[in-house]
């Protein structure tokens, strides 16, 4: 804890360097695949909703009717699930958006495992708490609605 001993701290061993690189590439790939997949689903859902509702293209409505609080779109996981079974565009969009939100969550889950394997207790705990907070966010949103 003295101010001068920091220079002499050991650096992590070399073999962990290779493992660290592998983890970096895994994280990088995970993020890229997550973003591309989810936005593809979002685009598909948007397209399907216009195919199902041709009137969307020519029948005007107040912007606020679509975008005000209380506008009709699937909100709960249950509604999204039922909507997807009926191939409803908006529900598929919601699945895509959900996948997008899940992408960083997956990344944190990977980090927890990474630190646990390396036996870094502090960082395992830190990332595990972050993961718990992310999962808690869904519960919090429902309670605070």
């Amino acid at each position: 804890m003295s101010r001068n001993d920091s220079e002499s701290l050991p650096t992590p061993p070399d073999r962990s360097e290779v493992a660290a690189r592998r983890v970096e590439l895994l994280i990088s790939t995970l993020l890229r695949v997550g973003v591309i997949t989810s936005l593809t689903v979002v685009a598909a859902g948007t397209l399907i909703s216009f195919i199902h509702h041709p009137s969307y293209v020519w029948s005007p409505a107040k912007v606020q009717r679509l975008t005000r609080p209380g506008a009709a779109f699937p909100r709960t996981l249950r509604q999204v699930y039922d909507g997807v079974l009926d191939l409803r565009g908006q529900a598929i969009v919601m699945v895509g958006l959900f996948l997008l939100i899940a992408t960083p969550v997956m990344r944190v889950a990977v980090s927890v495992v990474m630190f646990a394997v390396r036996r870094e207790r502090v960082f395992t705990a830190v990332t595990a708490v972050v993961l718990a907070l992310l999962l808690l966010s869904f519960a919090l949103g429902r309670a605070g609605g």
Binding site: M1, R3, D5, S6, L9, P12, E24, I27, S28, T29, L31, G34, V35, L39, A43, G45, T46, H53, Y56, V57, S59, P60, A61, K62, V63, Q64, L66, T67, R68, P69, F73, P74, R75, T76, Q90, V93, M94, L97, F98, L100, I101, A102, P104, R107, S111, V122, F123, V126, T127, V130, L133, L134, S137, F138, A139, L140, G141, R142, G144, G145
Partner: protein, 283 residues
């Protein structure tokens, strides 16, 4: 303009266009798209600020994850600092997103106006101070092995750096998280200075690390907005796609805008929009 009649198709196209422009402009100026897209959606289209924020937070995840994927590959990101500070930003984001459901829309406009003004000042600051002062010794940074190195393309070699003032950085990151959750922006304008000014990370590492953390911070808020029903697919889908494509185009086609004149003009625009948001909050 808010009461205009529009078909859902037209609305989708216009939202997409606005988001594309916001993403493009954001990446050219080194800001996120959120800080541009929320005022554009609310002031131009009259969309409810909560839905604008819900759409923005989702687009923030897309752009930051896309950029982070590249930065991590280039080893520009300090993963240990990022994962430690994510503890602060996610707690902050949860508080902020929760608060956003409790406080009225008027407060959201006011706070957004203030953050826009701060962003304008921050953009001017980025022009100076390329070499931060060395970090004061920090016991936490030593114990958690936060120090790192990165390859600096301009210098053509690896540059090692030391991290300091971890606790101060942690507090600032909590605040950045609250703002992010409250306003649906990545709040990189607060995260970057927390790292380069307070913790003394090099500016390039600060930017890359901020980008990496923004995805997780935004996911925490997005979870709350999603569960609360504030993510409207009619707004969020075109906005997420538009901002991502705009930001990708911006980073691929052109470099960062270097001209001081353009930056100053943009800062003035930011301050103008800030004023507009403040007035809307006061009315």
């Amino acid at each position: 303009m808010g009461g205009e009649l529009m078909t859902p198709f037209e609305l989708t196209i216009i939202e997409f266009g606005i988001a594309l422009g916001a993403g493009l402009l954001g990446s050219l100026l080194g800001l996120g798209g959120g800080i541009i897209v929320v005022p554009a959606l609310t002031l131009l289209l009259g969309i409810d600020i909560r839905f604008a924020i819900g759409a923005s937070i989702v687009s923030v995840i897309a752009t930051s994850s896309g950029a982070a994927a590249a930065y991590v590959r280039e080893r520009m990101t300090n993963l240990r600092v990022a994962m430690l500070l994510e503890l602060a930003t996610t707690s902050g984001a949860l508080s902020g997103a929760y608060l956003a459901g409790v406080v009225g829309g008027r407060w959201l406009y006011l706070i957004f106006g203030i953050v826009l003004a701060v962003s304008g000042v921050e953009m001017l600051r980025k022009q100076r101070e390329p070499h931060p002062a060395p970090a004061p010794s920090d016991a936490w940074a030593d114990r958690l092995q936060l120090h790192g190195q990165y390859f600096d393309a301009a210098a053509g070699r690896e540059i090692a750096y030391r991290v300091g003032r971890v606790r101060l950085g942690f507090v600032l990151m909590y605040i950045a998280g609250v703002v992010s959750g409250l306003l649906g922006i990545g709040s990189g304008v607060l995260k970057v200075p927390a790292m380069d000014l307070a913790m003394r990370l090099p500016i390039k590492v600060s930017t890359a690390t901020s980008n990496f953390m923004i995805g997780v911070t935004a996911a925490a808020s997005a979870g709350v907005y999603f569960a609360r029903g504030d993510i409207d697919p009619f707004v969020a889908a075109p906005v997420a796609m538009g901002v991502l494509i705009g930001a990708t185009l911006g980073s691929r086609l052109l470099g960062r805008l270097q001209s001081l004149v353009i930056r100053i003009v943009f800062v003035l625009v930011l301050l103008g929009v800030s004023l507009e948001m403040l007035l809307k909050g006061l009315r």
